[in-house]
Symmetry: D2
């Protein structure tokens, strides 16, 4: 994943109790950061604040590499891109990096699937998402 | 508050990242415990699992004394009672104690007010709550 | 508290799961915001990133008024000041306001006491803190 | 993973703000549950409350399948087992199931690696852990 381009990158504001008894940011808290990246990414690709009603994808699977610890005074960024869009799912790659050194702290691949919240069944990735992401990333999927 | 009687008392399951970088349970997490006590208390006084729709009170004010730190392996209880019911508000007192030593770790007084979620305005404490709490606590308010 | 001046004010980055099942920011999460304000304030008054070892005060008491709900897309600030410094304690006032409307969402008064972490006993507020806060706030305590 | 045996299974106490604005338990919170399972498992295999100093493994990688949502009033269990122990790493499998229906809500595979916290370098899985897990699980690794 060395040569991935992340067009979307936002700083994360660390909170005092993100740190656990081991003295570094708790593993589970990274997923809050990835959520932060996801909502920011969705807003960015759609060009407006996306409401809950517009979201018709859910997280089905995630794979995370914990590479280096993050400490309370670190300045970190969460970066997000979509690497593939299939018929019923898309693949999102995110990472947490140190803003200064650019070292990668954590890497996450997420599979999101189209989901109809009214019928509670899976569905295809909608064309509006496909177009918005293609335009934002500047490539075809 | 020495002679308060707490009829409602439940154990709290501590989580690894309840503890912050100082090595003890983070102050903000106590409020999760008090929420746990509140929902358990509401279920107990009503005699069934209370749904969101049945809740027509909100927290307006809280006063907390942080007395002793709580550590990850401590066994703690959250205890809840209602000390007063007025026309538009009720006063709830809660505390976190060590299950073994009974030492009080934290004490919290909360003012809850009647609230109509449809009109977003305050309202009287409903009779159903007043009756349920009176019956559970075995006293008139 | 209408005429308090808050020299220290920082934006809060809201996270997706700050919001609970009621659709607004959970009460307990406000305390994370106040922690954010506290650590930012400590760094600001001391003029450098304060390490854990430099902190010799702990929270003894907090009083909170929950005035208006905060929603996920709100832009909020946490503002912090110290209103009094006694021999063994200081009084901190903080509030959460809407960045746009300046409406106050939540108000918190905290009593912090001097604490010696080696002996686990209370102690006087140290002169270094008194001086730093006085200089920052531009007033004598 | 259908035929895995989970000797270690503990109930999870859900908290009000585990639920996010979508009305079900937030994805990131599952990792708190898996932490709960891990610390419980460590205590169980060692036969005593494991202190921080005894822990010489860290999480390097996690893979999670989010299968069904969890709601606030659900009764859930987190179940934990170790499926393999190599020279420098072990593979842990955990799942969250409904206590009543036994339906699997979420499945997690974690790779943990031996780690020396003094030198901050990886190391072999220590024999004491290998023996303790083998004895607990009743099999050789």
């Amino acid at each position: 994943m060395e040569d991935l381009v992340f067009r979307h990158s936002i700083p994360v504001q660390l909170r005092f109790n993100d740190v656990d008894g081991l003295g570094h940011v708790n593993n589970s808290v990274y997923f809050n950061f990835y959520d932060l990246g996801k909502t920011g990414y969705f807003d960015a690709v759609h060009g407006h604040q996306v409401s809950q009603e517009e979201i018709d994808i859910v997280i089905a699977h995630a794979e995370v590499d914990f590479i280096e610890p993050v400490f309370l005074k670190d300045e970190i960024l969460v970066q997000t891109t979509v690497t593939a869009i299939g018929n019923k799912s898309l693949t999102m790659v995110q990472r947490i990096i140190c803003a200064k050194t650019k070292r990668v702290k954590c890497l996450c691949k997420t599979i999101m699937v189209g989901f109809d919240f009214r019928t509670n069944t899976s569905k295809a990735i909608s064309q509006i998402w496909r177009d918005a992401i293609s335009k934002y990333e500047g490539r075809e999927y």
